[in-house]
C-alpha cells in the first residue's frame, strides 16, 4: 500500500484508470478493422495504449522507488472548486451579481486572515466591477440579476 504514495506508481494507476473508463465507455462502438476503422477504433486503441503506458509507468515506479507525493492542501482545493461550481450553478438562474458575490465569499475562505468586512467589500466591489466591465462596457449577453 505504501507504494501508492509514490508519484510514478500513482500516475501510472491514474492513466490505467482513465484508460479503463474510456474503454468501458467506447467498447460498445463498432471497432471495424485497421483498413476500415469504425467509430470505436481510435478510442479503443488509445485506451489500451493508455493502460499499457500507465502499467509501464507504475512498474517503473515500483522498481525505482521514486519520490512520494507531496502533501495535498485540501482546504484551498475544496474551496476554490466549490466557488467555481457555485458560480456555474448560479449564473443562469440568478445572474451575474449574486454569482460573483457568492463565488468570492467562498473562495476568499481559502486564505486565512481575511476580515469579514474585507471579504464582503471585495465581493461586492468585484460584482459591481464585473457587471460594469462585462455587461455594460463589453455588452456580453449575461443577465445581472435573477430573471
Amino acid at each position: 500500500m505504501k507504494h501508492l504514495n509514490d508519484k510514478d506508481v500513482a500516475s501510472g494507476l491514474m492513466f490505467i484508470l482513465f484508460g479503463l473508463i474510456a474503454l468501458f465507455l467506447t467498447s460498445e462502438f463498432d471497432f471495424g478493422s485497421a483498413a476500415r476503422p469504425g467509430p470505436g477504433f481510435f478510442p479503443i486503441v488509445l485506451s489500451v495504449l493508455l493502460m499499457l503506458i500507465g502499467a509501464a509507468i507504475s512498474g517503473w515506479g515500483l522498481l525505482r522507488h521514486g519520490d512520494p507525493i507531496a502533501h495535498f492542501a485540501l482546504p484551498p482545493l475544496i474551496l476554490i472548486t466549490a466557488a467555481v461550481c457555485v458560480f456555474s450553478f448560479c449564473i443562469e438562474p440568478f445572474g451575474l451579481v449574486p454569482s460573483v458575490i457568492l463565488a468570492v465569499l467562498i473562495a476568499s475562505c481559502a486564505r486565512p486572515h481575511f476580515g469579514n468586512v474585507q471579504r464582503f467589500v471585495l465581493a461586492i466591489g468585484l460584482a459591481a466591477f464585473s457587471a460594469l466591465l462585462f455587461v455594460v462596457l463589453l455588452n456580453l449577453p449575461i443577465s445581472l440579476w435573477p430573471v
Binding site: 492542501a73 456555474s88 443562469e92
Partner: protein
C-alpha cells in the same frame, strides 16, 4: 519583392487608428496580467478572450497577439524586479536579471530585456514573413495521410521536448487525444463518451480545460503556502545600458533570436524551451561562465530574445497548417474558430489581410512594448504589490465570467472546476499538462485524417509509409522518440531543463 508588398498590406491593415488601439490595449492588458505572479500568457488570453468577441477577425487576432507577447514580456519584468517569474519561460531571467537588480542595475536589466525582445521580435517578424507562405504552399499538397503523419510527428516532438519523464508525457498526450474524442463523432454521428450529458455533444471547451489546469490549478498551489513571502521590490535606477553593454549583448541577442525562432516552430517547444536553451548556450560559450548567475547581462539578453522569438514563430504552424504548437496557440485557434475562420493553409490566400496584419501587428506590438514598458515600470511594480488574497478571487471571477461567456455555457464553467482539481493533481504527480492540451486539439483531427486517408487508399494501411512526405514525417517522429528514450540524451535533456536553480 512579394514579401514587401505583402508586408505593405499587413501594415496598411494594422495602421488604422482602431487596429493600433486594439494592439495597444492588447499589449497593455497582456502586460497587466503577465506581471501578476503565476499568471502567464495562457491565462491572460483565456481571461481576456471575451474582450475580442465584438471585434472583426483581424482586430481580434491583433489584440490577442498583443495580449500574448504583452504577457510574455510582463513575466520578465517581475522576474527581474522581484525574483518571481510571471510565467515559466522567464524563470531563467530571474537568474541573472534579479542579480543585476540587487546590484542596483534593475533599470539596465529591464532595458536589456526590452531591447532583446524588440530585436528578436523584428527578426522573427521577417522570418515568419519569409517562411510561412512557402510552408502554406507545401501544406496545400498535403493529403489526409500527410496530415495524419504530421500530427503524429508533432505530438511525438512535443512529448520529447516536454519537461520531465518522457513516458508520463506520452501518457498525457494519449489521455488528451481521448478527451478530445468526447462528443459527437464526425463520421458516424454517434455520441461518444458523453455520459448522456447533452452539453458534451459538442465536446469539451479548450478554454475551460486550459483555464482550469493552468489557472485554477496554479491558484490552488499558490494557496498552499500559508504565509507567502512578501516581495521585496528592487529599486529602479534609470540606468540605460551604455555603449559597452550594447556591444556585449549584441552577439547573445542574435544567437538567442535564431535559436528561439527555430525552437518556437517545433511543437511543444515554444518560449519555455527557447529561453532555457539560449541561456545554457550562452553559459557554455561564454569566456567567463562563472559570471552567469551573478548578474551577467548576457544571461538576460539571450533568453529574453529567445523567448520572444519563440513566442512569435510559434504562430507559423498555427497560421499555415492549422496545427497548434503549444497550448497558447490552441486557444488562438479556438478564438479564430469563434470568429468563423478555419485556420489552415487557406488563411494566407483567403484572408491575406488577416495573415499579414497579424505579422505586421507583431512588429508594431513589439515597438509598443518597448515604448510602454520602460516608462510604466512603476505601475507594474505597484500591481505586483497587490496582496495575493485580493488577487486570487479577482482571477477566479474573471476566469468564471470569461469561460462562461465563450458559449454562454454554465457547463463550461463546471468543466473548468473539474479540470482545476485535475490540474492540481497533475502538479502533485509531476505530469506535464501541455502535451495533453495538444492531444486534445489534435485528437478529432487525427482520427478524421486517418479515416479519410484509409478511405482514399481503399483500406490500404501502407499509405502512411508509401507517400514520401508522410513517410518522412513518421521517420522523424520515430527518430525523435528513440533519441528521447536513449539514456544519454535523456541526461543532457534534464540538465538543459534544470541547469541552475
Amino acid at each position: 519583392m512579394e514579401l514587401l508588398s505583402n508586408l505593405e498590406l499587413g501594415f496598411a491593415t494594422v495602421l488604422t487608428p482602431e487596429n493600433l488601439m486594439f494592439s495597444f490595449f492588447g499589449v497593455l492588458l497582456g502586460t497587466l496580467i503577465g506581471v501578476l505572479p503565476g499568471l502567464g500568457p495562457l491565462v491572460a488570453i483565456a481571461v481576456l478572450l471575451p474582450f475580442t468577441f465584438g471585434l472583426d477577425p483581424v482586430s481580434s487576432m491583433i489584440m490577442l497577439a498583443g495580449i500574448f507577447y504583452g504577457a510574455q514580456y510582463g513575466g520578465s519584468t517581475t522576474a527581474i524586479l522581484i525574483n518571481l517569474p510571471g510565467e515559466a519561460s522567464s524563470i531563467v531571467t530571474t537568474l541573472d536579471g534579479h542579480e543585476m537588480a540587487k546590484r542596483g542595475e534593475a533599470g539596465k536589466a529591464l532595458a536589456t530585456a526590452a531591447i532583446g525582445s524588440f530585436f528578436a521580435g523584428c527578426v522573427a517578424t521577417v522570418l515568419i514573413g519569409i517562411f510561412a507562405p512557402p510552408l502554406a504552399e507545401l501544406a496545400f499538397k498535403f493529403g489526409p495521410a500527410e496530415y495524419f503523419s504530421l500530427m503524429v510527428c508533432g505530438l511525438i516532438v512535443s512529448v520529447v521536448l516536454a519537461n520531465g519523464s518522457v513516458l508520463k508525457a506520452i501518457g498525457m498526450m494519449v489521455l488528451g487525444l481521448l478527451i478530445g474524442l468526447v462528443g459527437t463523432d464526425e463520421q458516424s454521428g454517434l455520441q461518444r463518451m458523453t455520459l448522456g450529458v447533452p452539453e458534451l455533444s459538442d465536446g469539451l471547451a479548450v478554454a475551460a480545460i486550459a483555464m482550469g489546469i493552468f489557472g485554477l490549478g496554479e491558484i490552488m498551489r499558490n494557496l498552499e503556502d500559508f504565509n507567502r513571502r512578501d516581495f521585496t521590490v528592487s529599486k529602479i535606477t534609470s540606468l540605460m545600458p551604455g555603449r559597452d553593454d550594447l556591444k556585449r549583448i549584441f552577439a547573445p541577442m542574435v544567437r538567442g533570436t535564431f535559436l528561439g525562432s527555430f525552437l518556437g516552430v517545433l511543437p511543444g517547444g515554444g518560449a519555455l524551451l527557447a529561453s532555457f536553451s539560449a541561456y545554457a548556450l550562452e553559459k557554455k560559450i561564454a569566456p567567463n561562465p562563472d559570471d552567469f548567475g551573478r548578474g551577467a547581462i548576457q544571461g538576460v539578453a539571450a533568453p529574453e530574445a529567445a523567448n520572444n522569438a519563440g513566442a512569435q514563430t510559434s504562430f507559423i504552424p498555427m497560421l499555415t497548417l492549422g496545427i497548434p504548437s503549444n497550448p497558447v496557440m490552441a486557444l488562438m485557434i479556438s478564438a479564430l474558430v469563434i470568429q468563423g475562420i478555419e485556420p489552415g493553409p487557406a488563411v494566407i490566400s483567403d484572408h491575406p489581410e488577416l495573415f499579414w496584419g497579424i505579422i505586421a501587428s507583431m512588429w508594431i506590438g513589439n515597438l509598443m512594448l518597448l515604448l510602454l514598458n520602460l516608462p510604466l515600470v512603476g505601475l507594474w511594480v505597484k500591481l505586483v504589490s497587490i496582496p495575493y488574497k485580493i488577487l486570487f478571487p479577482i482571477v477566479i471571477v474573471f476566469a468564471c465570467v470569461g469561460v462562461f461567456s465563450i458559449n454562454n455555457s454554465a457547463f463550461a464553467v463546471f468543466t473548468m472546476a473539474g479540470f482545476g482539481v485535475f490540474g492540481y493533481v497533475l502538479k502533485k504527480l509531476e505530469c506535464e499538462p501541455a502535451p495533453m492540451i495538444l492531444g486534445f486539439i489534435l485528437g478529432p483531427m487525427m482520427e478524421g485524417h486517418m479515416q479519410r486517408a484509409l478511405l482514399i487508399s481503399r483500406g490500404d494501411i501502407s499509405v502512411f509509409v508509401r507517400e514520401p512526405i508522410s513517410a518522412g514525417l513518421l521517420a522523424v517522429a520515430a527518430v525523435a522518440l528513440i533519441v528521447a528514450v536513449l539514456p544519454s540524451v535523456n541526461k543532457t535533456r534534464k540538465i538543459a531543463m534544470v541547469d541552475d536553480d
